[in-house]
Symmetry: C2
Subunit: 204 residues, 2 copies
């Protein structure tokens, strides 16, 4: 498989960055091809400006030609999404959700007439990407998993996996969550890194 890894964390010494390295090792060991989009290092602009919104709305109604309104970087990302069999997101959970940079990737790249199409009623969506079969989301947080589920309703899973990626028609959706990260022992984090590397062999 060709796996597109979309990464977001501003600090090189972060546990997210360690997870990225283990994930890439695991993917290569499992024989997958990888492509990496490091949103921070790429200087990605997550802001949906008037022209981006106009392109989005234009694409909704006429489905062609809208992408020429977009920045070259977005068009480059689009070409790379088109080549992906699987997209793997790695990011920290800040204030219950993804950072702004990752949200902007969703806002600007999950684009009508490109990633998905609207059904004739205009209320449903169908997947347009032929190769894309699954998404995996690997996250870190300092909240205990039980608290995040009971109090905050697993908001990131509800929004991204049961919302966005389900809506556009991606069948295989998986969340690998590392919890209470700053409160666990270093040995636990080492174990998680080994675990995530191994799990890349099971990526479907």
């Amino acid at each position: 498989m060709r796996v597109l890894v979309v990464f977001n964390h501003p600090y090189e010494g972060s546990f997210c960055n360690a997870l990225l390295q283990s994930t890439l090792s695991g993917l290569h060991a499992a024989g997958h091809e990888t492509d990496l989009i490091p949103l921070d290092n790429d200087g990605f602009d997550p802001v949906m400006r008037a022209k981006d919104l106009k392109a989005f709305v234009t694409a909704q109604s006429n489905r062609t030609g809208a992408t020429e309104l977009l920045d070259p970087q977005l068009r480059d990302y689009m070409a790379r999404i088109e080549q992906a069999d699987h997209i793997l997101f790695i990011f920290p959970i800040w204030w219950e959700l993804m950072p702004a940079l990752m949200k902007g990737f969703i806002d600007k790249l999950i684009f009508p007439g490109f990633v998905y199409d609207y059904t004739p009623s205009n209320k449903g969506m169908t997947l347009r990407m032929e190769r894309l079969k699954g998404v995996t989301m690997i996250t870190t947080m300092n909240t205990p998993g039980l608290i995040y589920r009971l109090l905050f309703g697993n908001a990131i899973k509800k929004a991204l996996l049961l919302g966005t990626f389900w809506k556009i028609g991606i069948k295989k959706r998986r969340w690998i969550s590392f919890n209470s990260v700053k409160f666990v022992k270093p040995e636990q984090r080492e174990e998680w890194l080994a675990q995530v590397e191994t799990e890349m062999h099971q990526l479907a």
Copy 2:
């Protein structure tokens, strides 16, 4: 009361913009002072860069001096948050959540040692802003309310009102949600604008 309105929508003709005008009229009619932060027009940068994260982490551990690492715009926003009795957020729900611009406002402005402090155990938070008593979130979406609640678990409410603002200790938290916006008749939208204007009299 002094009400800080934080607004995010890139298109001037949007229903969010109409809601902003009605909200401001209602607040003025009710005798409140207002301050407006228009994130799009301000060219706010929502990206949490390495230096911002460093300031955040520094503030966590020593609680003073960290804000001097921040951009002048962030320090200006901080001074205005400090003067607010109430913060009112207006934004569209895109892909189940707030746009990147609004998420970045949360990431960069809900800052330790400024808006809140950590409890000695480092696991809880207490509100540091003396004037701030409540937050209201006014949102628009094209999803029906029932679907958003049942399938997507009211993700924005779980994350922002039952998560973030509850965690930092704000007692009055309210969500005014306008649903299926693009599918309703213009008369319905007019009614909503009148409704939101009236509701500003009840802002507590």
